[in-house]
Symmetry: C2
Subunit: 391 residues, 2 copies
């Protein structure tokens, strides 16, 4: 497949992707193209297999105009690889999810094992929804050198350093592939179809096994010089805190993250201070953040305290970042965002109390709208942006 | 005065500003303009009073080419207003400082008093170096709503909120005026003519009465949604720390800044733990950060400890920002940067130890090259960028 080769084609593709089928007359109005130019650009996009004509629009008084839409055969595959899960979806050209498969996984098993399972899920989805893929977007839980599509020195991901994830998939499926950090991808998802729609400067905070942050500046993901911007999990929140996997003490990740919450909940269960968590531990042999959320929902004071403490710690970090970045919105997402409004209340409490009024006066702090689909929708938006642009 | 009206004119002005006089032949090579187009653009810039022809270039083999330079009558006035000082300079079109006047001031006296003194200094400089001003750049020690040229809710600056600084000067001098936050201005200075030359993503940290940070992203100052980005003085570094002027406890400003250092040094002098500082206190009735620097240079262990503690606190904040922003350079400037390499060593120690290797592996942390002229050179660069662009 080749790409659109003019700005007008890109504009047409984005309108059709984001707003659905439009009549030629409407497209003329929206893009300001003359009729012959519009016809030529649409013809070119049809040739590329990206749009198609179909049906007649309702009359606007004169002759009825022909409808144009993204070609119904356009298929994006969106992959969200987390530390402990794989999530694969196939979407149409409007980024509507046609089908989605998720399974538990352990990223520490290395790229060969994990990517083979991703490929199996992709193949199943292709078998049911169309073999030819327009593009594949992949989010991975570590720093990515974006131009090369490789992870670079990801912590806790043995074997992934510089593994050619993008080229591996591009060869296998013969289509454009883009790889980015999972949190950046989720930020793009919220920006495309979630709570950050039409917001140009915001932070997306993912609370999962670890904590990370996607930074959107002037409408674009900001990746930093080495592709590792947004690594907020190792900001110090307690000089006397526990030792973190990175070797320092008191990192945010070490006091509040999926891993830290499981550790603290297991300790509370073991010490007998929380019978509810103790029961969970006995039942499953482990205590997960979901158990803590459930226990908090049942009114277990220890679980509520763990969540609130974590919210305050994260709030302290975010209040610093609000002063530094002066964003217009903070979105909280990731697995632990299902700790919900208890967590959000404490985050907000600290940020609004500690930040200068000018920076936080008009600053909404909200939960992700896309929730667990932020990763795959973001991956689809990322790859569609890449395909629907001038090559 | 009107502005250049084409991209080629802007390109010509920037080359001449940054690289000095060039022959027409060289300008043709540098800009890729055809000879007639080049002649027309130069003629237009001469008409605007921004460039002039003069002298013959050395022969390149054929006919000798005429030299072109920024008009020698071009004058930029650069104003750096700090919490406790005013610094005014007049530059030529190459941003070379022709003259400079500084005096102590107290920004808390309000805009009328302070700006009247600025105007007096400007008038003296005009009387000696040319009445017609090409533009005025002004740095102020608080958050600025950049499009309007007004300070918005600046802390500790009574009377300045929304005071029309830009319009006041524009009316008085009949030339373009730009107002920006002092730290942003200093960052632009280092980028134009200091240690951050040709660096596109860096942080400029000013340690003065308070601590602030200029953020340069993709070559441009990042101001945030309300113009107050870079406010790192209120990042929490010690939950049990002293109460800050903002009302919170343990802000960076409250444990390390000019004000905090003076407070701690006076306490050390009073308690008798540092005879060197006590002597200073007795002599001047106060202890300034310069006294602490001098005492440290004399080997006073209390002064050295105060500086090193401060460096570690600032280092902790910067290590968090390194993870978040992944910049390619950190520049340390402002009055307290004359605490010098003792301070720098401790900042570096913490940042390199606490940051993930990927983000800090190639990260230089250096002292400002422009030192005390960063403010006025930055103000001149800011206003010249504004004048040397398409209106």
């Amino acid at each position: 497949m080749t790409r659109p080769d003019s700005r007008s084609q890109v504009a047409l593709l984005r309108v059709l992707r984001d707003e659905g089928p439009r009549s030629r007359a409407e497209l003329g109005d929206l893009t300001g193209l003359t009729r012959p130019k519009l016809m030529a650009e649409i013809a070119r996009l049809e040739q590329l297999g990206l749009v198609r004509h179909g049906g007649q629009a309702a009359s606007r008084g004169g002759r009825r105009s022909t409808m144009v839409s993204i070609d119904p055969h356009v298929r994006f595959v969106a992959v969200a690889i987390g530390a402990t899960s794989i999530d694969v979806a196939v979407t149409d050209g409007h980024l509507g999810i046609l089908d989605r498969r998720s399974e538990a996984a352990d990223v520490r098993q290395g790229p060969k094992v994990v990517l083979r399972r991703v490929a199996e899920l992709v193949n199943k989805l292709r078998a049911e929804h169309g073999k030819a893929l327009t593009g594949i977007g992949i989010g991975v839980p570590g720093p990515v050198r974006f131009p090369d599509g490789v992870l670079v020195s990801p912590p806790l991901m043995p074997g992934w350093n510089r593994y050619p994830v993008r080229d591996n998939f591009a060869r296998k499926y013969g289509c454009p592939v883009l790889v980015d950090n999972d949190v950046n991808v989720m930020a793009v998802g919220e920006q495309w179809g979630g709570v950050a729609r039409s917001v140009d400067n915001f932070l997306f905070v993912k609370i999962g096994t670890g904590i990370g942050c996607g930074i959107v500046v002037h409408g674009e993901v900001y990746r930093g010089i080495d592709g590792c911007a947004g690594d907020i999990g190792h900001i110090n929140v307690d000089p006397d805190g526990p030792v973190c996997a990175c070797g320092n003490t008191g990192c945010l990740d070490s006091v509040f993250s999926g891993a830290a919450l499981s550790r603290d909940a297991a300790a509370a269960a073991g010490s007998g201070s929380s019978p509810v968590l103790a029961a969970r531990l006995e039942q499953h042999g482990t205590v997960t953040p979901i158990d803590v959320a459930d226990a908090a929902a049942e009114g277990d004071p220890v679980a509520v305290r763990l969540i609130r403490q974590g919210g305050r710690r994260l709030g302290l970090v975010l209040s610093g970042l609000v002063g530094f970045m002066n964003p217009s919105l903070i979105v909280i997402g990731g697995g632990l965002s299902n700790l919900g409004h208890v967590l959000l209340a404490d985050i907000r409490g600290v940020v609004y109390r500690r930040s200068l009024p000018m920076a936080s006066g008009n600053l909404p702090i909200v939960l992700s709208e896309l929730g667990e689909t932020a990763g795959v929708i973001g991956a689809a938006a990322t790859i569609s942006d890449h395909v629907f642009r001038i090559s």
